[in-house]
Symmetry: C2
């Protein structure tokens, strides 16, 4: 890896920490912005993030840590954003430094709630970042397994293959295999939609549906995802590639997924509000389903699963009824 | 349901018991052959199968039970075979009654080890049953969840849609939804191949690979399955339908799957022989991979997952090495 590749990570959560760990395996130095001054001090002293993915050992000598987003953004060419989509707008509003000449990779799996845009579109439309400077990092990848150094495959999508290759090389290693793709829009939509399907899987589980149903749900979900993405960005893609189907499965089958957990509570009878309070973490799919539903109304895609989740989370409908109806629309 | 629909189930295992339970919901009477006289007496007296799926309550008044396969075959028009593929040949050799005018549905997910044929082909080639009289019942469906009356979706495949519809109606009910298909060959190959992929998932788990890898494995498996089936029987099919992808997922993600368990033991270092002895049950995928490997050599399909499982189970190769190689062939 060239020493001149200057990459920084924006965010202090589990996925941000996992990406810092991957980059640290290859780069001499990694920039890292997070809000918490306390966490920064803890990392410097104790070599791990106190709040997230604390089992991942980090080498503070390799890290340029700062709680000032402008300091990091000014000093680095390639910025990897890994913060919950719900906080993106607030973080970006702190910026005094321009993003126009930066290469931006989104590791955010969601939609910006305020604009209803996927993250790449948000950077492009609101911050004038040219499309060829925008990329996406996608799983299937639980951060926890990166901490354990278990083999994981990531897809780096960017319209400019040269940029995808740079990041791909910076991230690949002993336990990370990477693949590049030019389907940035499809990859981002897949990453966003899978959280909705994970909520659906959680609701179904909470309602008492079993593994047979879960398999049918995932089989219907990938077909729905294919239809959905085809409508928003038509191009040749194999929906069964890891960045689409793999990402859906790792989340939909994970009992640790926040989205699945959130859905499970809804299925068990919690109200949306109490489930959110109980979890004290944001389930990306909660925001995603609102935007996804609005977009699908424009494109006219048939999306029974999204419709059911939307009706439960935003329409005040009973999960039990909605899912009973849904079972008749699947096959 | 017409009272004249005469359907019998051949086999005394979990899946056979689950099918009898489904049929009993709709038919006044169901024929049922199983070898064990003891099990038959137990069912008559205690209303459940003593050995398999004992939680499923059965109504002996609806059942025409017999330990004589000829008695059942002679008296019924539609026969559903649900015995392990490894025992099929022996059972069929007991027949003195002809199968030529029968409609045969296979609920066997495997390959007949002695002939290397999928079950439908075996009936056609060895017993002269015309192709239009042969069908397949496919999942995703764990028998255990049928016992619990959890919603499950089954696909009934037959070249003759009228026959598929008859069985479909006889099986569908409160907790079973059915779908008909004309892709009997593809459905049967999918049901057979998924057991090999479940063994692969088990081996990977036994070797210490995690959920991220499992998702990538399943994503590669469905693409491999698509290539494989396309070569043996080219027709228009959506490989993401429940009978293909759903069936793969329910088995590949099930920790109760015999095939996955068998693979897991191999991954943990058991020899093939000791894993088979320890389990005291047949893992269908063990036989399937041998035939699948031979067929793919003829068709020339690229099947890195089948190749790896074959090398471990039949080539005496180390699982660790084979799977390390496999990780480089997946994406």
């Amino acid at each position: 890896m060239s020493n001149s590749t200057k990459i920084a990570v924006i965010g202090g959560g589990s996925w941000a920490t996992a990406i810092v760990k991957m980059l640290s395996e290859n780069l001499e130095s990694v920039g890292w912005y997070m809000r918490s001054v306390y966490a920064i001090e803890h990392i410097k002293r104790n070599k791990h993030n106190p709040n997230y993915l604390s089992s991942a050992e980090l080498n503070p000598k390799q890290l340029i840590l700062s709680s000032d987003i402008n300091e990091i953004v000014a000093a680095y060419d390639i910025l990897i954003f890994a913060i919950p989509s719900a906080f993106l707008k607030t973080e970006l509003e702190k910026l005094t430094v321009s993003l126009e000449n930066k290469t931006i990779f989104s590791a955010i799996k969601g939609i910006v709630p305020e604009t209803g845009l996927i993250v790449g579109e948000h950077f492009q439309q609101v911050y004038n970042v040219p499309l060829e400077n925008i990329g996406v990092i996608s799983g299937p990848c639980h951060a926890e397994e990166v901490a354990m150094e278990r083999l994981s495959y990531l897809t780096i999508a960017c319209q400019d293959p040269a940029k995808a290759k740079i990041l791909s090389k910076a991230i690949a290693g002993r336990y990370i295999k990477t693949k590049i793709s030019d389907d940035i829009v499809g990859t981002e939509y897949a990453a966003m939609l899978k959280n909705i399907y994970a909520i659906a899987a959680g609701i179904a589980h909470g309602l008492g549906y079993g593994d047979n149903f879960q398999a049918v749900l995932m089989s219907n979900a990938i077909r729905e995802m294919k239809r959905y993405i085809k409508k928003v960005h038509r191009m040749k893609r194999n929906i069964n590639n890891s960045a689409y189907l793999g990402d859906l499965l790792v989340t939909g089958y994970s009992t640790f997924s926040r989205n699945r957990m959130f859905g499970n509570m809804i299925g068990k009878g919690y109200t949306v509000k109490s489930a959110m309070m109980e979890m004290s973490m944001v389930a990306e799919g909660y925001y995603a389903v609102k935007s996804a539903y609005e977009i699908k109304q424009k494109t006219g895609t048939r999306t029974p699963i999204i419709d059911a989740v939307y009706a439960v989370l935003y329409g005040g409908k009973e999960a039990k009824d909605q899912f009973e109806k849904l079972t008749n629309k699947m096959n």
